[in-house]
């Protein structure tokens, strides 16, 4: 048994613990960067090992599934691990310019946030998914409140914590009910047992499944459970907001993991449990995010609403239910994460350059280095809205193509295109206000230096990479969608040959 699947969990756990002992910030920074680079290397190694469709199963304590707890690394999990590590690296590089000095434990919390994220991607067990959620949430509570005390941030943090604690309670009730009826929490085993639910228990399992859907919808910020996101993301520090761009994707990933193989087409009496809810809610989320972006009065709040809209686009693709739809969503997922993270970082650079005006969308003097920042804003706006030629357009085009023939086709096309138009208007208005209608400076000020821009440029380069290698990468996501829709293959890998 290879120990590779557990390494992305152990590295941030040990690095975070070690950081508590390190006396100097310089050492913590070096260890933080080294740990994230190591996680990126491990994630790429896992992707390379699993790209042909193998599932690496790691039984903790060598107890065989479904009695012991397993980690399952397949290409979908590795894809998410790579995305998370890349975003984490760029956000951490940005944090090094001073954001991490506001408190002594920034780097330790950052590593534990990654521990929770990696655990959630790798777990093969519903209860461990809960534990990973709690780890990433408690780290995110502290990171959200990290930095200079501000009443607005504290208020947003309090709401975020209470809402998520409530979500955790519902998660446990759902997990308990599933265990009480089916006697297992192993995901591969659940996929088998749910399909064979005895008729008298169908109602209970349906209730537990829909409760799980509610919890994941809360984590993914699906309408009407999205209200915590704009308030929290707009007020926390920029690198933290950039890292949080991956956090809503954990909810989307969990929806995919639970509602395609377990409560998906093959679930017998409980087939397609969440399907009637997912697509309409995703479209409503997309519309609400786009309208929020139009109405926002601050740049960071606007980006936060665009994150809501991108969750809507992502879950629209997943909600189509077909392999092509899921594959389109999986291709769009890293793109929207990179674009949102880059926009959060860029919004912070712009806000710092504007002095007292901050990120408020009021006319004022030009930002120092306006040409560079304006060009970056333009590229990222194109990426975020989903205009050609960048990968956002490809993701949306793949989604619309997958929607052809779906019963809700007119709704999907209408909402996706109109929401794209709204986001375009919102960002065009912001761009012209910040860069065209700006009053010229009386004396030229130096723009941000290359180190500040490097993380944003890195994220732009990743988006370009996604665009250039769209062919092979979309083939890979199509294969991942195929794995999800055919859970028997992974079930054999997890439970052994004789189990099915």
């Amino acid at each position: 048994m290879s120990h590779l699947p557990i390494a992305p969990i152990l590295v941030p756990l040990l690095a975070g613990a070690l950081m508590l002992l390190l006396p100097r910030q310089g050492l913590r920074r070096a260890l933080g960067i080294a740990a994230v680079v190591a996680q990126l290397g491990l994630a790429l190694a896992l992707l390379e090992r699993t790209a042909d469709g193998t599932s690496l199963v790691y039984a903790l304590g060598a107890w065989p599934a479904p009695f012991g707890i397993v980690l399952v690394a397949d290409r979908l999990a590795a894809w998410l691990l790579v995305t998370a590590a890349l975003v984490a690296l760029c956000a951490l590089l940005y944090a090094l310019r001073g954001e991490d000095d506001a408190g002594p434990h920034f780097h330790a919390l950052y590593q534990w946030q990654l521990l929770g994220l990696n655990g959630a991607f790798l777990t093969g067990d519903l209860f461990n998914l809960f534990v990973s959620f709690e780890i990433l949430l408690i780290a995110s509570y502290a990171l959200l409140l990290h930095g200079a005390p501000s009443p607005a941030r504290t208020r947003a943090g309090l709401h975020f914590v209470v809402v998520n604690l409530l979500g955790s309670s519902l998660f446990l009730i759902a997990v308990g009910t599933l265990y009480g009826v089916l006697g297992t929490l192993n995901m591969a085993d659940l996929a088998v047992k749910v399909a064979a639910t005895p008729p008298e228990s169908v109602g209970l399992v349906r209730a537990a499944g829909l409760l799980l859907f509610g919890v994941f919808a809360l984590k993914a910020a699906l309408l009407p459970l999205h209200l915590w996101l704009p308030a929290g993301y707009a007020r926390t520090g920029a690198p933290v907001a950039a890292l949080f761009a991956i956090m809503t994707k954990v909810g989307a990933y969990s929806i995919l993991r639970v509602f395609v193989p377990i409560f998906g087409p093959g679930a017998g009496p409980l087939a397609d449990l969440a399907q009637p809810w997912l697509l309409p809610l995703a479209l409503a989320t997309l519309a609400a995010g786009a309208l929020g972006a139009l109405a926002a009065t601050g740049l960071r709040r606007q980006v936060a609403y665009l994150v809501v809209a991108s969750v809507g686009s992502l879950l629209t693709a997943f909600g189509l239910g077909s392999a092509a739809g899921i594959a389109a969503g999986l291709y769009y997922l890293p793109h929207s994460t990179f674009a949102a993270a880059a926009l959060f970082l860029l919004a912070d650079i712009i806000a710092k350059g504007r002095g007292d005006l901050g990120d408020r969308l009021d006319p004022g003097p030009a930002v120092p280095g306006a040409v560079t920042l304006g060009a970056l804003f333009f590229v990222l706006a194109v990426a975020m809205v989903g205009l050609p030629p960048l990968s956002g357009f490809l993701g949306k085009a793949l989604t619309l193509k997958a929607a052809l023939g779906h019963a809700m086709l007119p709704w999907v096309i209408g909402v996706v295109l109109v929401a794209g138009l709204c986001a375009l208007i919102a960002l065009a208005r912001t761009g012209s206000l910040l860069f065209y209608r700006a009053e010229p400076w009386s004396e030229p000020a130096p723009g941000p230096n290359a180190w500040v821009l490097a993380p944003v440029l890195g994220l732009v380069a990743l988006i370009l990479g996604l665009t250039l290698f769209a062919g092979p990468l979309s083939d890979l996501t199509l294969a991942m969608a195929g794995d999800l829709l055919d859970p028997a293959a992974q079930g054999r890998a997890v439970l052994g040959q004789g189990a099915l």
Binding site: F127, V131, E134, I138, Y141, L145, P149, S150, P151, A152, T154, R155, G157, L158, H159, V161, V162, L165, L166, S168, S169, L172, I173, V175, G176, T177, Y179, G180, A231, G358
Partner: protein, 112 residues
């Protein structure tokens, strides 16, 4: 015993939900605590209620109690305890920084 357990869990949940909907932090924290008690009892009950049986298969015992929910409850208690400590600290911080203990205040206040 099942009926008693169900009534206890139901009462705790109802009280917890009612308290969470209050407008000040202290009742909300109490509500979250009551809700986590209800959840812990619920998880425990999911292993079926048994009396005087060991959580392992032992010769001579009349049967065994399902050990897995007990492990789950233990984890949930630890996590719930940490979360309660955190939310109490956060409520105190909010009381100090915001000057009041309301959780329902609007979005606009304190905007930079």
């Amino acid at each position: 015993m099942e009926a008693l357990m169900a009534v206890v869990i139901g009462t705790l949940t109802a009280l917890g939900v009612w308290l969470i909907l209050r407008e000040r932090t202290f009742p909300v924290v109490l509500g979250l605590t009551l809700l986590s008690y209800a959840v812990n009892l619920f998880l425990f009950g999911m292993g079926r209620l048994t009396m005087g049986r060991p959580p392992v298969i032992a010769a001579g015992a009349p049967g065994y109690a399902d050990p897995l929910p007990q492990a789950l409850v233990l984890t949930a208690i630890v996590i719930g305890f940490a979360m309660t400590a955190f939310v109490v600290t956060l409520a105190l911080k909010a009381r100090a920084e915001l000057g009041d203990d309301r959780v329902d205040a609007g979005e606009g206040d304190g905007e930079p």
